[in-house]
Symmetry: C2
Subunit: 311 residues, 2 copies
């Protein structure tokens, strides 16, 4: 993927996404002893950066593929993103979700006219069900993070951030499935000569951190983190990019995630989900490196149940 191709991806999806604002806070700058630029994907359509990759994945299909629809398995933001992107492009979206997924998440998918297919609550059941939909309907499977078109789409948030601030020293993202991190790395490599990419990851689901050390994709034994968007695994499409180019993966504790989230809510007056706070928690833990530097942070999303907060 070269710079021209990435630029084409951005131009292609622009009509279907928001160009989200970049916010700053004098107080958070003072705390970080750095200039911090928050790319606010919580203001993106459906409330998260996932819209970018979903739109691009669908736009990358042939007309015949589009006519038969798309299918994914997700109970999180990608389910909503694919549904909304598909709706806007006149394509059917089949969403395989565990039957015990929260009603609020099912309702969100229905709002965007996604077609929900319920399955048992385990990773094998959802893959079997997604396979069945592919065969029965001829729908194209789109993985939430381990898909080239999705990765390139996610990278457009960093392209915009670097267009607005072309002298960033670092960009911090969360890492879960790895789509955002890999896309951000591609964007930073092609749209900046100096900007390095660092990821934040919960200690509780530190598969990416351990994968970097072992050199192969590791799994998590638990998913016990408040950052529900990050309870997923790397894949063979994004891990090689991450392995080759990520500057560091910084692990953060649950209380650090909650503190970072509260700080953003109280000081910046924006609603961000725990996964977004993971990236800022990594910034707060990395003060020595960033001192007097210019730092971008991808605020990945803002979909959170405000009736059920950790503070």
């Amino acid at each position: 993927m070269d710079k021209v191709s990435l630029q084409k991806v951005h131009n292609l999806i622009k009509p279907y996404i928001h160009r989200t604002p970049v916010l700053t806070s004098q107080l958070l700058n003072a705390i970080c002893e750095a200039e911090v630029f928050f790319k606010c994907e919580n203001f993106q359509k459906m409330g998260a950066f996932k819209m970018r990759g979903a739109v691009h994945a669908i736009l990358s299909l042939s007309e015949e593929q589009k006519s038969k629809g798309v299918v994914t398995h997700s109970s999180g933001n990608f389910a909503q993103a694919l549904s909304l992107a598909a709706k806007g492009l006149g394509v059917k979206a089949y969403i395989v979700m565990p039957e015990n997924a929260p009603q609020v998440k099912k309702d969100a998918v229905k709002t965007y006219e996604g077609i929900i297919i319920e399955c048992d609550s385990n990773i094998y059941a959802r893959e079997i069900e997604a396979d069945r939909i592919q065969k029965e309907k001829g729908a194209t499977f789109i993985h939430p993070s381990n898909d080239d078109a999705v990765i390139y789409g996610q990278g457009t948030a960093a392209i915009e951030l670097l267009e607005d601030y072309n002298n960033l020293d670092y960009i911090y993202t969360p890492v879960g499935g790895g789509g955002l991190l890999a896309g951000t790395i591609l964007a930073a490599n092609h749209f900046s000569n100096t900007c390095k990419v660092i990821a934040g990851e919960p200690v509780e689901v530190d598969d990416a951190y351990r994968s970097l050390i072992s050199g192969r994709i590791e799994e998590n034994e638990t998913s016990n983190t408040i950052a529900d968007g990050l309870r997923t695994y790397l894949g063979d499409r994004n891990f090689p990019i991450i392995k080759a180019h990520v500057e560091e993966i910084i692990r953060v504790e649950e209380n650090e995630i909650v503190e970072a989230m509260k700080l953003i809510w109280e000081r910046m007056k924006i609603v961000v989900e725990p996964s977004s706070a993971v990236a800022f928690a990594a910034v707060l833990k990395d003060k020595e490196r960033i001192k007097n530097k210019k730092v971008g942070v991808i605020i990945s999303g803002g979909n959170v149940d405000v009736s059920n907060l950790p503070f």
Copy 2:
């Protein structure tokens, strides 16, 4: 106050305030069946529109007055606003606060280097104490809402909103002390030919609503509303403006305030305080009037204890 003078006020304070963004939401537009433009003063310095009036009030003083400092009584946003404005302008700010004011509010004032003078928790004690500071220090008293310079300053939020969207049919604000409402009315009258101003007010502290009916300033017997910024009274400087020009004051119940607040948090992904939600609750209650119209809403502030939410 004519248009030229109001424009001068705006130019005067511009270097000391943020030009806050105007946000929109397709989903909230659909709910309201109108185009709604949210003027986000929750992103203002210190987190509320009060910064505008505080800056203007201090800039309106003579050099001799400035050298002796300013004094106000407030335990809310104006205490912080006057402290921060004074700090930026190299002026001392004496803040009379009840001794039982929440520590978090005292801390906020201290952060901005306001000098706290504690008093008993009743309206007479705070006035006596503020009088004493005026006499002892020669400080100039600045009322949080019933002061011409403050009123003109607060009106600049609406000036900016009308500069950005010059064809609004209505602007909704909350009404408490009346400074924001009166300032918004002046701005709308001079910067638009058509825009009318409507206020939202909690039923629990509906003194402004009753004052409009009786034609004289009424008081509240209770202050039992979640909208802590609106537990105050109109004054003889702002009431005549409101009486002459407000289109209507719409009263809202406590549960309507909470629902409006939750809707803004969840859908717009911004943190707003209950007083701001009062204005949007009035919009939601006024659907017939606004159908297919262009509607501005002043989101007055975002200072809220996120550990202690009503939902």
